[in-house]
């Protein structure tokens, strides 16, 4: 039956085991095959109910169930709304039959149960999870969707509105089994080899009982009360307000829909609640934001992490011992992530004190984790024992990987590589963590330029998931592949680009922050500039980010480019430059110095510096608010197209993922190139709007040839 998607076995005691095992995929998903199999299986359970004493739902895969059929969800349009609604309702109807069958049903969760996986488990009367490092949860929100197979309805009824929304639904937390049990979506956690036994034991213990879900029992009360109970009603109005606050005004539809479906569903009976849930799901799934997020956070990310940009034919590489040159903020962070991934780390600086201070960063991070109970003293000791601070180049003996993270000065970088050249393994991979300096030039300072790769980390290194790998002119494919493997080894996401001043990320980041400075130069209220950014979906606004990277950075980049006789890109002749120069002149260089666009009072949150009004803000400047956010996104997308045109970028997924993970492009737009694809009218619409912005705000919005070609052919970036 159903090609083995759901295998049926029944033991002598009448217990049916349903084993999910999609014959066509590595993981079980809510695809058409599953839908058919679920229908047939549930029909049979009903038909043979008298001979069934219990049901165990299990998986033959190494995961339990992966979730929705994203290929299908990516394609669905408003014209398919009815069909999608009916399909979703049909799945829910089957799961409802399963949970109201009248015999005990238990889920045996052997591995990842995300999205639809947890929803299936929630439709069982009891959930037992095997111990392990895998994840359980309803992360639909991160793809712009909601748990539409009963997830919202059941989580709310199981945990109540507040806990259900906060702990599971709105942020889509991915929980380890133990955490899932604490939160309440899993009932038991057992050793993996005891999973099925525990499931059968539970069924045996409840055999013959009319087992029902809590919400189907007489006298059920929703935990924490329903919206009509005074207890909850008093603070229910703060739910949506706090959601808006969390989102900083960014127009994410999914968390809004989840909260709405949850609250509306809590006021009606179960079946009605599931229909409300389906209607919100259909609205999200047929909308553009979910498409953007599925495209970026599933398909593009899968391509990037799956090695699409890794040169073929190079054996996989595992680094053993890394020498980190420079124990400043970046070097210290790099040492931490390497040690965390199990590498031996030699952390070198000019003095042992400086090197030890760099190691101190790991001690601080680990101390915090220990205090929160997220790690053990033994793990802390082990990790720290892998970091050896030193001031001596000789200690880098045996390193098969070098990551240099000294100041952004080519001469200094040449010098530190020269010091260790003869000490490290003869074929050690040589990486430079630079955010802007061309790799080809830096490679001139080493004797093996083919083994030299740019490895651009983002700050703070322990939090930022992206690493930008830069291939210089002489960098070999083998070195790029090894660097790619190193980044995966330290559990980060590598994008691969070709050499250019600022590479991809810093170039495009520059356009964003300089656009913010240009708006200040135009006399626009800085509060409005920052607000426009967050409402566009930028996680951080441009003036705050300029303060973070320091205002002297654009100046240095400009000077370095000019010294090299190259274009400084966004930093050359930009209308924002005088603003930056003025602030630097006033000794307001950014957050590190305690003053920039913002003031940083010791006793409260940062505030925009009132002097900005004195120096820059003009009364009567009226710019459409929406233009501000669009300008920021457009300059980034246009620069990204130029990077693609010039061959700096090698792939569209790298561009989308790099822009979101590295430099804060609004996630809901799916990345700097997906934003163009999805813009009203597609690339042609984007071109038309670019020309309007160019006419109004400057030639930097003029669409590049590659974009014109795409518009001409009505072809998305893919």
């Amino acid at each position: 039956m159903n090609g083995g998607m759901i295998q049926w076995t029944q033991d002598d005691a009448g217990v049916v085991t349903l084993t999910m095992d999609d014959p066509g995929q590595r993981a079980n998903t809510m695809n058409e095959r599953f839908g058919v199999a679920l229908g047939e299986t549930v029909d049979r359970l009903v038909a043979e109910k008298d001979s069934i004493t219990g049901v165990v739902v299990a998986s033959a895969k190494d995961t339990f169930f992966a979730g929705g059929d994203l290929n299908m969800l990516r394609r669905v349009t408003p014209e398919n709304a009815r069909r999608l609604f009916d399909e979703v309702q049909e799945i829910k109807r089957r799961l409802r039959t399963l949970e109201t069958l009248g015999v005990p049903v238990v889920a045996a969760i052997n591995g990842a149960a995300l999205g639809g996986g947890l929803e299936i488990a929630l439709a069982c009367h009891h959930r037992i999870a095997a111990e392990g490092g895998y994840e359980i949860g309803q992360p639909e929100v991160s793809l712009g969707l909601l748990p539409g197979a009963g997830g919202v309805t059941r989580v709310v009824r199981m945990l109540g509105l507040q806990d259900g929304l906060m702990n599971v639904l709105i942020q889509g937390q991915r929980m380890k089994p133990q955490r899932a049990r604490e939160v309440g979506v899993v009932d038991e956690v057992v050793a993996p080899d005891q999973l099925l036994d525990a499931a059968y034991a539970w069924v045996r213990a409840h055999r013959g009982e009319d087992v029902r879900q809590p919400w189907d029992r007489d006298g059920y009360k929703m935990p924490g009360g329903t919206p009509s109970s005074p207890k909850l009603a008093a603070f229910l109005p703060a739910f949506p307000a706090n959601l808006r606050k969390q989102l900083k005004g960014a127009p994410y539809p999914a968390p809004r829909a989840i909260m709405s479906a949850a609250v509306e569903g809590a006021q009606v009976d179960f079946e009605t609640a599931t229909r409300i849930e389906s209607r919100y799901l259909v609205e999200l799934a047929t909308g553009q934001i979910a498409k953007n997020m599925i495209s970026a956070f599933f398909f593009d990310l899968q391509a990037v992490n799956g090695g699409a940009s890794r040169p073929d034919g190079v054996p996989s590489y595992t680094a053993r011992k890394v020498g980190v040159l420079g124990a400043g903020m970046m070097g210290a962070g790099i040492a931490y992530v390497c040690a965390k991934a199990g590498l031996e780390v030699v952390l070198k600086d000019v003095s042992i004190e400086a090197a030890e201070k760099g190691k101190g960063y790991s001690e601080k991070l680990l101390g915090k984790q220990l205090a929160k109970g997220r790690t053990s003293q033994q793990q802390v000791d082990e990790l720290l024992s892998r970091i050896a601070p030193t001031a001596s180049a000789d200690d880098l003996a045996g390193c098969d990987l070098v990551i240099e993270a000294v100041f952004e000065d080519p001469a200094l970088k040449h010098k530190v590589f020269a010091e260790i050249a003869s000490v490290v393994e003869p074929d050690a991979l040589l990486c430079s963590n630079t955010s802007t300096l061309p790799i080809t030039g830096l490679a001139e300072g080493v004797d093996r330029p083919e083994d030299f790769v740019g490895m651009h980390f983002f700050s703070p290194v322990d939090k930022m998931p992206l690493v930008e790998l830069i291939a210089g002119k002489q960098t070999s494919d083998a070195a790029v592949a090894k660097a790619y493997d190193v980044v995966r080894q330290i559990r980060k996401t590598p994008i691969v680009v070709n050499d250019s001043r600022g590479f991809f990320t810093s170039r495009v980041f520059g356009t964003l922050v300089m656009e913010g400075a240009a708006m200040v130069a135009e006399g626009i209220n800085p509060v409005t500039i920052e607000r426009a950014a967050t409402q566009m979906g930028f996680p951080a606004p441009p003036l705050a980010m300029l303060d973070e990277v320091t205002l002297t950075l654009p100046q240095k980049i400009r000077q370095a480019a000019e010294a090299a006789g190259e274009s400084a890109g966004a930093f050359a002749d930009h209308p924002g430059t005088p603003v930056i120069d003025k602030l630097v002149e006033l000794d307001r260089k950014g957050k590190a110095g305690g003053a920039g666009f913002y003031d940083y009072p010791a006793d409260g949150p940062k505030r925009l510096w009132p002097g900005l009004w004195e120096h820059f803000v003009l009364d009567g400047v009226e710019v459409p608010f929406d233009d501000l956010g669009e300008r920021m996104a457009f300059v980034m997308s246009l620069e990204t197209v130029k990077c693609l045109e010039e061959g700096v970028l090698r792939s569209v997924p790298d561009a989308n993922i790099g822009s979101i993970f590295g430099i804060g492009f609004p996630p809901l737009h799916g990345g700097a190139l997906q934003y163009i694809n999805a813009y009203d009218g597609g690339p042609a619409g984007f071109v038309a709007r670019s020309r309007e912005l160019a006419a109004a705000y400057g030639a930097r919005f003029t669409p590049p040839q590659l974009l014109l070609d795409k518009a001409e052919r009505d072809e998305p970036f893919a």
Binding site: L236, P237, P240, N242, R244, R256
Partner: protein
């Protein structure tokens, strides 16, 4: 041909009791507050033929529980008024009492009805504000779409945008108390205020309980801002700032001492054409010149009075300068200060006998109370035009212009 003027024949109100279990009127049911005034009307006008009264229109903002089930018709029956006299309850949030007056005036001026009692009631100690729920606040989809915030956030936003300091709003509040205390001391309210008595005729309350004569900026200084916590932890500041993109943050200046007090009370205004005067056996004290409802942006919410006032003035063919006295409900100090600045009028003409900061704001009744206060003071000063207005939930504003008619 019957005159199409809507005359004001009388305006009465209860004193306002502190809206807490410790308040004097907490023991009095909302229905009793209304029937007490209906009794008083007959008592004052012994010749009144109540059959002439077409309808009783009452504003109630939280029309649930003992304020539910059409309290106006219930009061008509309970007070022994004729069975032909109707009763209808309406809700225009804080302006409900004035809305009742306006609708009554409009119906009389239409010529279809002769005599209507308009007013309102709110026992805030017994039926808590907000306990009726409502999609605007309670339904996330609606709240997210419309940017719902509690009014205190709006008031603080106005103060922030208008550059009003804590001292500015506290000084306004202190003046409200001083004016109310003086008005009470001099008996300016004696024509309108009807003491609340019990079933034995024993007096329960004869004065507005909240007035504190010695209030100063200094005595108010110790009060903590009421809306800072919900603004920050409730997320409502962020909601407001999402619309007000030029405002970096909201300065929370309003507190219990410079916002309208929570109280219990009721009011009635007798409105009718000339025939009503015959039934009442009294001459009109004033006439309703014009009324208007308008609106402003719903998140800042409390800026509706100025557009409503302008609309009413235009309808009446009058200028701001023609109005002798203004009553603008003191929902929050900043709302009144904003209204005064917006219309360019002096505090000397506004709320001359204090307002809701000193005396309290029984939500459904206040608008009708303002009409009585205005009429009494126009008579005392022998002035002509008065304008009553209230800021209203959801951004609305309601305004009414009345003209005193010499006796």
């Amino acid at each position: 041909m019957v005159s199409t003027e809507a005359f004001v024949y009388d305006a009465i109100r209860t004193p306002r009791g502190k809206g807490k279990p410790t308040g004097a009127l907490h023991e009095v049911k909302p229905i009793s507050l209304v029937t007490g005034l209906l009794d008083e009307l007959r008592h004052r006008h012994p010749d009144l033929d109540p059959v002439a009264i077409d309808d009783v229109v009452l504003g109630v903002v939280t029309p649930i529980g003992e304020q539910g089930m059409d309290i106006a018709r219930t009061a008509v029956i309970a007070a022994g008024y004729p069975e032909t006299t109707g009763g209808v309850q309406l809700n225009r949030f804080c302006a409900s009492g004035l809305e009742a007056v306006n609708q009554a005036a409009q119906r009389v001026r239409s010529g279809w009805e002769d005599f209507i009692l308009a007013g309102g009631v709110e026992s805030m100690s017994r039926v808590p504000m907000g306990s009726d729920g409502g999609a605007w606040a309670m339904d996330p989809e609606t709240a997210l779409r419309t940017g719902f915030v509690p009014q205190g956030i709006s008031a603080d936003l106005i103060a922030t945008m208008d550059g009003l300091s804590r001292t500015d709003v506290d000084a306004y509040a202190a003046e409200s108390h001083a004016r109310a205390a003086k008005a009470w001391a001099n008996g300016y309210f004696s024509r309108s205020v009807v003491p609340v008595v019990d079933r034995n005729g024993l007096q329960v309350l004869d004065h507005d309980q909240l007035v504190r004569p010695g209030t100063t900026v200094e005595t108010l200084a110790g009060l903590r801002p009421s809306f800072a916590a919900i603004g920050e932890h409730g997320g409502f500041d962020a909601v407001a700032l999402e619309k007000y993109v030029a405002v970096e943050r909201i300065e929370h200046v309003h507190h219990a001492g410079n916002s309208s007090g929570i109280v219990d009370g009721a009011a009635l205004v007798a409105i009718g054409n000339e025939r009503a005067g015959e039934a009442l056996g009294a001459a009109p004290r004033g006439r309703v010149v014009a009324s208007a409802v308008s609106g402003a942006e719903p998140t800042i919410m409390l800026t509706g009075p100025a557009p409503a006032a302008r609309k009413a003035l235009a309808r009446a063919g009058l200028e701001v300068g023609d109005i002798d006295l203004f009553e603008m409900n003191e929902a929050f100090a900043a709302a009144v200060l904003h209204f005064m600045a917006d219309l360019g009028i002096s505090h000397e003409k506004v709320n001359v006998n204090g307002g809701a900061i000193a005396m309290g704001h029984p939500l459904g009744a206040t608008g009708a109370m303002l009409v009585g206060t205005l009429l009494d003071e126009l008579e005392r000063r022998e002035q002509r035009y008065g304008l009553a207005t209230l800021c209203v939930g959801g951004g609305m504003g309601v305004a009414t212009i009345i003209e005193r008619l010499p006796a």
